[in-house]
Amino acid sequence: MWLYVRFPLLLLDREPGAGVAINEPQALLAQRSILEANRAAQAAGVRPGQSLTTARSLCPGLQCRAPCADRMQKQLEQLALWAYRFTPELCLTPEGLLLNVAGSLKLFNGFLPLYRRFQWGFRKRRIPAVYGLGHSPLAAELVSHSTTDISTLLNEHGLLDKNAVIHLLNNLPVKYLPCEDKHQQQLATLGLQTIGAVNALPHTALTRRFGPFFSTLLNRLYGIEADPRKTFRPPDYFYSERQFNGSLTRAEELRFPIAALLGELDYFLQLKQWVNRHMDWQFRYCDGQSDTLSMPVSHQHVDRRRLLRLVLLKLEKFILQGPVDALILQCHRFEPVAQRNDELFQHNAVFDHQRHERYLAVLDKLEARLGENSVWQPALCNEHLPEQTTTQRHPLANTPYSARAESTTRPLWLLPEAYHLREQDGIPCWHKPLQLLQGPERIDNQWWQQRQVRDYYIARADSGALCWVYRDCLQQRWYLHGLFG
């Protein structure tokens, strides 16, 4: 049981082209005749099949362009990703999507509920769609050209009525048969008007006249021969966009499209059982410029509402440069969802997963508002100079700790840069002369580049603070380097 969805105005509606408003008359052109016309052009009398000159005379402001197969393919792939939730047997055709829904009927309580969800989904996205239903892929494609409502093709059990489909096919004009123009003309000269009349002829005669391909075509159409198709596989990256055609000028208005895109991402990640580690937002403006906003995320499972809050937090400080034409969300880096084990006895839990989840959530929030380098953890290095013994590492980085037990006295506060102290009678002064208590502890290091020889002392300042000062033995100067907090 195959369902076919054709999108007649997909390219015209979704991609109006640079600098063209959606309500201006437009048409797609192939070999100097109109292929498709949008609503405004149709209102002016332009119909598919007319020649360019006729169309121009009917509608002087008509803007024509050639169809772009790549763009169509990209649009179809996005729609296929959405339609993938209904059935895994999904194929892309140049004009639409082909779905084998036989296996999904039980899940959706029969064909009609599934069909209604389909219609609702495309109506919500304002994509005009034409449906066809058949017992073979080709039959479904051809039925979509007829004006009959496909619910009349169902029997009283809600299943496909094969005879009704064959009856419908028999009455379809021959011009919808997907064969070469030469063959179409031959069929016309033979006086064959409907597909049923063609099929009634002996197939051996048809093979002799039109080649073996033609009888295969008919067999496939009537479901006598198998028609294997290449099924659609969801891509390994996420890409989705929303077009606004310049109607969007304020950042607050982005909330709903962002929520919709995150909903798609959520669905994609569930499908793949992945979590994303990065989100790249792209704002494309009407003048062709674009802005990108990339943000790291460190969650363990996707929570759409939390992601939305995070994006809105990031957008608070982001200023749009002009009216937005398109919003694009891309994700390339993914990780498999970490499966976790919960403890049977909660009080014995060694690792609190929920707490860790909240920890990751607050990390994301902080990084979104304060910047990526505002949060860090200390990591120890095996260096001797005090300012080099610690490095900053990202809280989620997997660098191992090279923990080093140090037995010598170290201050709790280290100044980010050693502060030069003035010297009075050989004694360092910090506002007032310091009283040296103990030392020196010599650190002589880096003889291979800039040699550092320092004698560290503990000293007491007049305020009562205990300071860690050193005398640079090469420069003969005193520095304050830390405080015993």
Partner: protein
């Protein structure tokens, strides 16, 4: 009668002359017996704001907290929000603090800091948030928000503020002024929940820090002209086992 006994057990009710027993339920020992005795909660309160008011650093203000922080950091995370200098990781490790559970956050501007502090307190992912405010005056409303966040989410908010703010009122249930007094750290309890305040304590600094190693005449002398030679301290000759003729292999 039962109403009265119920009322008497309310931890919010302050009764003069008697310690409130309920206040000590959620606290962690300070590591100093005298300080534990002086605080009605028998230790640092683990929920709500604790204000430490000091103008100078290096008085021992961090080592006052390290025993409690070391205990907390074994299981749960601790955040350091806008510390005035870099907390030196080897020293933190020496004090027993688990570095893997330490998180440092830096932000610019008062509004960002208040936002970050409240987010961290409300996250219920951290045992303690150490927060350093510079001299800017915080509104009572902001302090109350932080105190409420800390109390509701059972997080210890350690708020370092300037000594001058002792004059202003604050919603924090525990406020301690820190000064240096004759080589010791003086604690002046300005306010505490569950009983009278006004306790004054002197806490000695660690003995190994104050140990005066050598008389000043042994410090290195600066002669001025000899730049190439290193001037080393003339250490007093001490008899070591090496001098006694122990052979090293």
């Amino acid at each position: 009668m039962s109403h009265l006994s119920k009322l008497l057990q309310n931890p919010q009710l302050w009764r003069s002359g008697r310690r409130n027993q309920a206040a000590g339920h959620n606290s962690i020992g300070t590591g100093l017996r005298r300080l534990d005795q002086a605080l009605h909660s028998r230790g640092w309160p683990l929920a709500g704001s604790t204000e430490l008011l000091c103008d100078h650093f290096g008085l021992g203000e961090l080592s006052l907290l390290t025993p409690a922080l070391a205990q907390l950091s074994q299981q749960q995370a601790i955040v350091w929000l806008n510390p005035p200098f870099e907390p030196y990781a080897p020293a933190l490790q020496q004090a027993g603090i688990n570095l893997e559970h330490c998180l440092f956050v830096h932000c610019n501007g008062l509004s960002d800091q208040l936002w970050a502090a409240e987010e961290l307190l409300r996250a219920t992912a951290f045992a303690a948030v150490l927060n350093w405010s510079d001299n800017s005056k915080l509104a009572d409303r902001d302090l109350r928000r932080l105190q409420l966040a800390a109390r509701e989410q059972q997080c210890w908010h350690i708020h370092f503020r300037a000594a001058a703010t002792a004059q202003h009122s604050s919603p924090a249930p525990l406020r301690i002024g820190l000064t240096s007094q004759n080589k010791q750290l003086q604690l002046n309890v300005l306010k505490q929940a569950g009983g009278p305040a006004g306790q004054q304590l002197l806490i000695a600094r660690a003995a190994h820090l104050l140990h005066e190693q050598k008389p000043p005449e042994y410090w290195p002398q600066h002669t001025g002209n000899s730049k190439s030679r290193l001037l080393l301290a003339r250490l007093p000759r001490v008899k070591t086992p090496l001098d006694a003729g122990v052979e090293l292999h």
